[in-house]
């Protein structure tokens, strides 16, 4: 009986892999990316630029943030994040269901959310020093984050926006991105964890080896949570065959209206009726 259970459990664990494999094995030769991805993250040492800075620009990355559930995907215990929510935030989240996520309507995902699609770090330089870092996201939606690397501070006054105002610096081998000025419209995950315009985030990106990079993420939002919360996400470098592809979410988004009875559309911000 015990042996049967073990075999059952192993088979069940492998099934998603088998399903994936069955759906891709018949693909034509160009399916090299998917095949290379199955081999797992590339192995090797952390690559560096000629000046010794860690090189983040040698490929495209996947992961490094939440999708379904920030609490469990960010390494917290069940209920740990939810216990730190202010009552109004908890009440708002209880009214949300995943069909209402703004992301489903091709709206931006905010920070630190990711998608199944890759992103690339691109640094802009003058002849003297780095000036900007851009994080180019393929999906969903095709968008970029701009991080000022020239030592400037956050402006005293900011109009709120989906990706806020980001300033970046290196602390030894860790890229630190500090962002304020967010709007309150995006959800951290499909469960609907909310935030306010008081949100301040600190991302600490540390490349552990060639194939993996940690994002230690601090969520600091006194408007919605009782204290700052630190999450840990892991990003994976994709194989060299992979590149960003065009992803125009607005082109043919049929989400919801025809398929979900009583579809209400996206729900954004603090007010559930907004």
């Amino acid at each position: 009986m015990r042996r049967l259970l073990v075999v059952c459990a192993m088979t069940a664990a492998m099934l998603p892999l088998l399903v994936q494999s069955a759906s891709t094995q018949a693909g034509p030769e160009a399916g090299k990316v998917q095949a290379a991805r199955r081999a797992g993250p590339p192995k090797g040492a952390v690559p560096r630029l000629p000046d010794g800075t860690v090189n983040l620009m040698d490929g495209v990355w996947v992961g490094g943030g939440p999708v379904q559930d920030m609490e469990s995907q960010g390494g917290l215990k069940k209920g740990e994040m939810d216990a730190l929510m202010l009552p109004w935030a908890k009440a708002l989240m209880a009214t949300r269901d995943e069909t209402q996520e703004p992301h489903n309507a091709c709206l931006p995902m905010g920070v630190p959310r990711v998608t199944p699609f890759p992103y690339r770090f691109v640094q802009n330089y003058t002849h003297r020093k780095p000036t900007h870092l851009f994080i180019l996201h393929e999906g969903n939606i095709h968008s970029y984050r701009q991080i000022f690397m020239d030592g400037r501070k956050h402006p005293a006054e900011l109009d709120s926006s989906w990706y806020g105002h980001s300033i970046g610096s290196w602390e030894k081998d860790t890229l630190v991105i500090d962002t304020v000025g967010y709007n309150d419209k995006f959800w951290f995950d499909r469960r609907g964890h909310p935030h306010t315009e008081q949100l301040h985030t600190i991302e600490r990106w540390t490349r552990l080896n060639l194939g993996q990079m940690e994002n230690k993420f601090t969520l600091d939002d006194p408007g919605a949570y009782t204290r700052p919360i630190v999450f840990t996400f892991m990003a994976t470098l994709m194989p060299p065959e992979d590149e960003l592809l065009e992803y125009i979410c607005q082109e043919n988004n049929q989400y919801g209206a025809a398929t979900i009875p009583g579809y209400k559309g996206p729900q954004m911000g603090k007010d559930p009726l907004k």
Binding site: M1, L4, C8, T11, A12, L15, P16, V19, Q20, A22, S23, T24, A26, G27, P28, E29, A30, G31, K32, V33, Q34, R37, Q68, D97, E98, T99, E101, H103, N104, C106, T115, P116, F117, E138, G139, N140, R190, D242, L245, E246, Y247, I248, C249, E251, N252, N253, Q254, Y255, G256, A258, T259, I260, P261
Partner: protein
């Protein structure tokens, strides 16, 4: 033993149903994985787009022809698997197995798309 086997198969089915949860949006809210249909018809349109590629095909049942809207994975995901806009052509006969739209419209999220020669194209509707 038979009971154990039944429990085992039920467990496998549950795992299989859990797989579409990996999609870039919540497929389960749109399509009912417990209502799976298998339909054969002629492809009338291919949309090689994001956030989902789609094929439309005409299915004749009891003398009545209906155009079904088939949601595939994202174009981005399909390209990485090696598929192209020409992997299925207009006029081809295909057999599609997929989960029915919850609203009752003629729409499915594809689990499989099989050409007349038995070749399986595209992944499922998830990406």
């Amino acid at each position: 033993m038979r009971t154990k086997l039944a429990v085992f198969l039920a467990g496998l089915a549950l795992v299989a149903l859990a797989v579409p949860a990996m999609a870039h949006h919540a497929v389960g809210a749109e399509y009912d994985a417990s209502k799976v249909v298998k339909l054969t018809g002629t492809v009338s349109k291919v949309e090689w787009t994001n956030p989902h590629a789609r094929i439309y095909f005409d299915v004749t049942q009891d003398g009545k022809t209906t155009t079904w809207n088939v949601e595939l994975a994202a174009r981005s995901a399909l390209v990485r698997q090696g598929w192209t806009a020409n992997s299925v052509k207009i006029g081809e006969t295909v057999t599609v197995e997929g989960s029915l739209a919850r609203s009752g419209v003629a729409g499915v999220n594809a689990r499989s798309v099989i050409l007349a020669d038995g070749k399986r194209v595209f992944g499922g509707g998830q990406d």
